[in-house]
Amino acid sequence: MRVTCAFGLLLWTWLASPVLLAAPCELTISAAASLSGAFKAIAAQYEQQQPCQLTLNFAASGVLVQQLRHGAPVDLLATADQQSMDLAEAGALIDPTSRQDFIANRLVLIVPASPAATSPQTGSTATNADLQPLTAPVFQRIAIGNPATVPAGRYAKASLQQAGLWPALGAKLVQAANVRQVLDYVVRGEAEAGFVYASDAKDQPVRTLGLVPLQSPIRYPLAISSTSKHAAQARAFSQYLRSQAAQQILLQYGFSTME
């Protein structure tokens, strides 16, 4: 009798455990590499306010779309350019009605901080960088993200093409897998210049030479994945990203408000 009771109890506990132990909210968020710092901070804050467990996945936007295409169980996608999100939308990977822009960023040209400097020198993000000097021999290697997968690389390529410098600089370009790697190459001094976002250059041992002129402003879109099993919770988090609290954190990390 006692054995039966004990067995029954164990069985019930095992069957009920998913309900008893389940977190009320679990979200997997794929975000562009440039968002890593800001999103970690935002996620920490969100988890304190809501009983929600957030899993963050960072990579170049092109890679994120590929992961989604191959079945990655992602709830929310945040990319660094419209083109990646267009690809996701074209592949029916996201819910088009949930797509919206949530923050802006700027592309800057950076160089390694001079060896003598002991503190990171903030550059002039108020002025436009002159790209012509990049053809000089002193710039042996220029780091950009791989234009095939990295939005920052696409923006950089577009601006270089617009300035008519793309053919001339072709041999000097070192392609990185994501924008943070571009930053790393410049911080290490292995590349004499690099194209990163203003948010990446902030508080880093690099010198910002100026803003890179672009045809249209950089706006980051987000969307809920079409295969998400937590659409309502994903919607709640996407709303949080547009709230004052999250926007404040993004601005702190060097992003800019959408005009």
């Binding site: 095939a148 392609q175 897998a177």
Partner: protein, 221 residues
């Protein structure tokens, strides 16, 4: 179809294997023939690149040979040589990672040489060099060759350390494995499939060659 990636891979693997033949071969002979204090530690250090994840090896090399390192800055100021983001960097990465693959079989091959033959040769008046060239090497070459084939195949597939050290510069340092990785990342299935088939085919041919070359002499008839 970008043939440059295949060219680069073959070149990097070829030079790396050649370097390892000289380095690995000589160190293997030393370890097989001599006993000295710290021998086990040296052996452990020399085998390390094989057990460490390639990205860790790549990171060590990046720190050791980068522009701001002692070696890197010396090379740059004296010889104007930069190793990061160059094919030379890729060769170094491949050499370091595949070194244990030559060292171990070569050492085993040298140790398998019957010491009595070596001693007989010495008694008959051969110099140490002659003993190496006429006794040890002819008896050990099959084992060394097996190691070289393995190292070549491994160097063809080297990815983690190469990516860290040489980056991915199409036409300059983008080897086969890196090209495949980037093709998959970009969703270019066609290129990825072609490159994968070419790499697999090359490696199968190499391994078949290795097993054929290392068959015992009697069965070659």
């Amino acid at each position: 179809m970008d043939w440059r990636a295949i060219e680069l891979s073959l070149w990097v693997a070829g030079i790396a294997t050649l370097l390892n033949l000289i380095l690995g071969g000589s160190l293997a002979y030393l370890l097989a023939r001599r006993d000295f204090a710290g021998k086990s530690l040296l052996e452990a250090l020399l085998t390390l690149p094989m057990v460490l994840p390639p990205t860790v090896v790549g990171y060590y090399l990046l720190v050791l040979l980068g522009r701001h390192s002692a070696i890197g800055s010396a090379l740059e100021s004296w010889f104007d040589i930069r190793l990061i983001f160059t094919i030379e960097g890729a060769i170094i990465a491949a050499t370091v990672v595949t070194f244990p693959l030559v060292l171990k079989p070569a050492r085993a091959a040298f140790e398998a040489v019957d010491l009595q033959l070596v001693q007989a040769a010495k008694v008959l008046g051969l110099s140490n060099l002659a003993v190496f060239c006429r006794i040890s090497l002819p008896l050990a070459w099959r084992g060394i060759l097996a190691g070289l084939m393995l190292a070549f195949a491994r160097a063809m597939g080297e990815f983690g350390a190469t990516l860290m050290l040489a980056g991915s510069i199409p036409g300059k340092t983008q080897t086969l494995s890196i090209a495949i990785y980037e093709a998959v990342q970009a969703g270019d299935q066609h290129s990825a499939n072609t490159l994968v088939l070419v790499t697999s085919g090359l490696c199968i041919v190499l391994l078949l060659l290795a097993s054929w070359l290392t068959k015992p002499a009697s069965s070659l008839r």
